[in-house]
C-alpha cells in the first residue's frame, strides 16, 4: 500500500482525463470542493478511529462522559453543522456551475453533442454553416460554452473531466452542460455511462482554440 501511495504521488494527479487536473473554472471549482472534503473527511476519520482506539484502550477515559453525551455529541452536534455548511456550499456551487462558472452577462457559445453507439458527433448552430464534426469538439478558449447533449439510441454520458462534470445523453431528452476552457489546448473526453460493447472506446477530443482561430478551425474541418 505504501508502495502504491508512493507511485501515485509521483504520478500526481495529472492526466488527460483527470478531474484533479482542472483546466476550466467548473472543474477547478469541483476539484477545490474535493480537496476541502478530503481534508475534512480525513480529520473526521481520524477523530472516529481515535475515539474508538481510546475507548478500547483506556476504558476509564470514556466513562467520564455519559452515554447520552457521547451519542448527542457525536451523532448530532458533530455532523449537523458540517452537513449543513457543506450542503449549502454545494448548492451555491451547483448554481455557479450551471451558469458555466462565468459571469452571466457573457454571451454563450452553443454547440450540440449527439451520442451514438459508439461515437460523439458535434454541431455548431451558432455558426452559419453549422458544420458537423465527429470525435472532435471545437470550442473557443476563454468563452463559456453551452453543450446541448442528446442521444438517438441508448443512454451515454458526456464527460470532459478537465473542464466540467458529466451530463447524460438520454434519448428523447436534451440536457445542457456549460463549461469553459481557460486556455487553448487539447482535452480528453469520454463516455461515462455504460452503453454496450463499444463503451470503452467511446472517446473524443476537445480542441480549445484561441478566439481568432476558432472559425478557421471549424472551416478547415468542413473543407475536405
Amino acid at each position: 500500500m505504501l508502495f502504491g501511495l508512493g507511485a501515485t504521488l509521483l504520478a500526481g494527479c495529472t492526466g488527460d482525463l483527470s478531474a484533479l487536473d482542472p483546466a476550466g473554472p467548473s472543474a477547478a471549482s469541483i476539484a477545490r470542493l474535493w480537496w476541502v472534503m478530503l481534508a475534512a473527511s480525513a480529520l473526521l476519520f481520524l477523530l472516529v478511529m481515535g475515539l474508538l482506539f481510546v475507548a478500547i484502550m483506556f476504558p476509564h477515559f470514556g466513562r467520564r462522559i455519559s452515554q447520552r453525551s457521547w451519542i448527542l455529541a457525536g451523532g448530532l452536534a458533530l455532523p449537523i453543522p458540517i452537513l449543513f455548511a457543506l450542503t449549502f456550499y454545494a448548492f451555491w456551487q451547483g448554481e455557479y456551475l450551471l451558469r458555466g462558472g462565468g459571469t452571466e452577462a457573457e454571451e454563450l457559445v452553443r454547440v450540440e453533442a449527439l451520442g451514438t453507439r459508439w461515437q460523439w458527433q458535434f454541431r455548431y448552430p451558432d455558426t452559419a454553416e453549422n458544420p458537423t464534426t465527429s470525435g472532435v469538439l471545437h470550442i473557443p478558449a476563454g468563452r463559456t460554452v453551452e453543450v446541448a447533449v442528446t442521444s438517438t439510441d441508448v443512454i451515454h454520458s458526456f464527460w470532459i473531466p478537465r473542464l466540467a462534470g458529466k451530463i447524460d445523453a438520454v434519448p428523447g431528452h436534451v440536457t445542457y452542460l456549460r463549461l469553459r476552457a481557460d486556455r487553448p489546448g487539447r482535452y480528453g473526453g469520454q463516455c461515462a455511462e455504460y452503453c454496450g460493447t463499444g463503451h470503452a472506446g467511446m472517446n473524443f477530443e476537445v480542441h480549445a482554440h484561441a478566439e481568432e482561430d476558432y472559425a478557421a478551425a471549424l472551416g478547415i474541418e468542413k473543407a475536405p
Partner: protein, 838 residues
Amino acid sequence: MTDHHEKPTSPIALHHALDRIWGTKSGWGRLATVNHNVVGKRFMLTALIFFAIGGLLAMLIRTQLASSQSAFMDAEQYAQVFTMHGSVMMFLFAIPFFEGLTIYLLPKLLGTRDLAFPRLTAYGFWCYLFGGSILIIALIGGVAPNSGWFMYTPLSSDIYSPGINSDVWLLGITFVEISALSAAIEIMVTILKLRASGMSLDRMPIFAWYMLIVATMMLVGFPPLILGSILLETERAFGLPFFDPNRGGDPLLWQHLFWLFGHPEVYIIFLPAAGAISTILPVFAGTPLAGYRIIIAALVSTAFLSFGLWVHHMYAVGIPHVALSFFSAASALVAIPTAIQIFAWLATISHGRPRFSVPMLHIIGFFFVFVIGGLTGVMLAMVPFDWQAHDTHFVVAHLHYVLVGGFVFPMLAAAYYWLPHITGRQPVQHLSQAAFWMIFLGFNITFFMMHLTGLRGMPRRVFEYPPESGWEMLNFFSSLGSFVMTMGFALVALDFILLFRFGRPFRRNPWRAGTLEWAMPTPSPSYNFASLPVIDRRADMLDPDVLGPQLAAGKGLLGFPRDGRMELLAVDIVTGKPEHVVRLPRQSFMPLWTAIGTGFFFLSLLFKFYWVTPFALASVVFMFLLWSRDTAEKDDLGNLPIGNGQELPPHIEAERPPSWWAMVFALVADATAYISLLFGSLFLWISAPNWPPQDIGQIGLLGPAIAAVSLVLAAWSGRQASAGGGKGAVGWLSLTTVGHLIATTVFLWLALTALPSPRSHAAVASIFVVFIYAAMHSGLGAVFAGYGIWRVRSGFVSPRRNLDLRIGVLWHGFAAMVGLAAAGFPFVLASLTSEVSP
C-alpha cells in the same frame, strides 16, 4: 376435546417427544422440511456459494483490469462478468444471506419455536435457489445479463439487447424477489406476533427492531423493482413502449423505479449488519447497548429518509437543480442516523470493559472501512462533486467500502460469533487472525487507491483503457490487493471447516451473552425451546445460564407436546401478553411443488412458451389453496391450556392471528406496486417526449361504471358473509363471486377491445396494464370467494372459526379499491392530456 397432552417426565423425554414433532425427516423427507433451523442454514449456505461465484467473477474483473489492454476477456464477456458480479453480490448473496441469518436467529432471539409461516420460508428458499440457478446457468451458457446490475433501458430493451440476456435478469431476479417479499412479510409478522410472553415492544432485543424496520423497507422497496421488471419484460416481449421515447415512454421511468428500490436496498443490506453489531458489540464490551431508544428512532428515520433520496443516483440525467438539492440534502441527512449508531457503539465500548476476540476484530475492521465509505458517501451526495465522480471507479471504491465495510465485515463478525451456536463448537483460533488481516489489508489495497483511479478519470465498466492514461499502476495494485483479499476469504473458509471438524464443544453461552438464543442447547434443537420463556426485562439483559436449564426442564409455557402439532404462542403486538396458541401446519412437500410450479411459470416466460404460462399460473394458485387444508379444523377447539394454569384459544379462533396480518402486509406490498404503476404513468405524462398520445380509445362511461358497481357489491357482500359468521355465508359469497366475475370480464373486455393497440403509445399501454392489474385482482377475488364457499360447505367455518372469511374481506376490499382506481384512471389521464377523450 383435543387436549390430550401429557407432561413428559424428564427433560430428555420432553426433548424426544418434541423432536418427533419438529425434527426433519430423513431421506427424501429432508425436502419437505419447513423448520427454520434447517431452512435458515440452507439459505446461508446457498448465499455463501453465490458469494464464492460472485468473488470468482470479481477476480476475473481484476485480472482483466490489471493491465491496460488485456486480451483476457473481450468487451462482451467483460459486460456479462461485471453485470453478474454486481447482480449476484446484491441479489443472490447479500440479501439472502441476512435473510438466512434472520430466519435462523429471529425465533431464538424472540423466544419462540419457529417463524410465523414455516412453509412460506421453505417456498421462499426454493424460489431463491431456482431463480439464482437460472442466472448462473445463463452465465455458464454465455447468455448472462450484460447491461450492468441496474439494467438501464434502452440498452436492456429488445432493440439493443435482442438476446435472452436481459430476460434472464428480469425474470430470474423477480423469481428471487419472491423470496425477499415472503421473507419480509414473515419477519414482520413473526416480530409483531410471535414473541416470548412478556416481551413488550420496548423489551425486544435490538436485532428484532432492526429487522422489523428492514422488513418494512423490503415490503415497500421491492415492489417498485418488481413492477419495473414486469413493465420492461412486457416491453421486450410484447412491445408495450413504457421506456421507448419514440412512443411516449421514457428511459428515466426505469431509473426512477429501479432506484426507488435501489437506494433503500443499500440500507436494507446495511441495517441487518448493523443489527448484528448492536447485538454482538455489547457482549464484548461487557455492558448493555447504549441508546436503545435513540437507535430505534435512528432506524425509523433511516427508513423514511432512504425512500427520499433515490435521485442521488440520477444527478447527471438533467433533473432541475432545485429538485436535486432537495435530494442532496436528504442524502446528507441520512448520515445523521448512521452517526448516531456509530456513537452509540462508541459509547457502549467506552462504558464497558472491552474484551478482544475474533468477532471484535472484524467489528473494528467494520469501523475502519465503513466510516471511510460513509464519508465518501457524503461527498457523493454533494451534487457538483457527483457530476465528476459519478460512474467512475471512485463510485466503485465507495460502494465497496460501504458494502464490504457495512455488510461483509459485520457478517464475518456474526459468523464467528454465531457459528458456535450452529455447530455447538468453539473455534480453535489459529487462522482467524491471519485471515482477518489478509482480508482487511487486501481490501484496502484493492479499493483505497481506486478512489484516485476514478478521480483521474477512469469510468466504471470499461474492459480496457489507454496505456497513456496513467491508470495502469493504480489498477495493478488494486488487482494485487484483490488476490490477497481472496486468499483471506479462502483462509476464513478453511477456518470454518476446521471449526466444524475440530472445534471444542462447550456447555452453554460461550460469550456470556444476555440474549435468548443462548438459553438453549447447541447445536439448537429443532424446536428451539422445550418450553417457552416468560420475560420480565429487556431481552438482551437475561441470564441464559439460569434460564436455559429451566426451559429445558419444561418450566416455561407450552412445555409439552399436544396432538402431534407444532405449537407456539402469539402475543399482543405492543404489550407481549399471550393472546392465542398458534398451531403450525405440518411439514410438507407442497412448498417445493409450488416453487417448481412457479419455476415453470418463469421458464415459460423466459423461453416464450406463452401457452404454458396460464396453466403454470393456475397450478400455482391451486397449490397455494391446497396449503390451507392442513391448518383447518372441523370443530371449535375452545381454549387450550398453555401451562402454568393458563388457557388460550387456538389461532384460527382468534381475532387477529398471524395470517390475518400477513394478508394486510401482502396488500401493502401489492398497493405499493400498484401506486408505482399509477404514478409511473403520470411521470410519463410529465417527463416523456411525444405526449399526448394521438388516441387513447373509446372507453366510455358504461364499462367503468359497471365494474365499479359490481366491485363495491362484491366487497360489501364479502363483508356480510363474514359478519354472519358462517350463516348465510354461501349466499353472500356467491354474490361476491359474481361481482368479481363481472368486473373481471369488463376490465378484460375494455383492455382488449376499447383501447387502440397498447403498442402504439405508452399512455395506452399504461391503461392496458392498469386494466389487466384490476382484472387479475378481481379474478383472484372470485377464486377466493369460491374457495370460501367450499370452506363453508366443508364445515371448516363456524362463528368462532371464520378466519378464512375475514381474510377474504381484506382481499375483496382491496380488489375493489384497485378496480375503482383502474376505472377512473383513463379519465384522469385523459383530462391531464386534455386533447383526447376516452
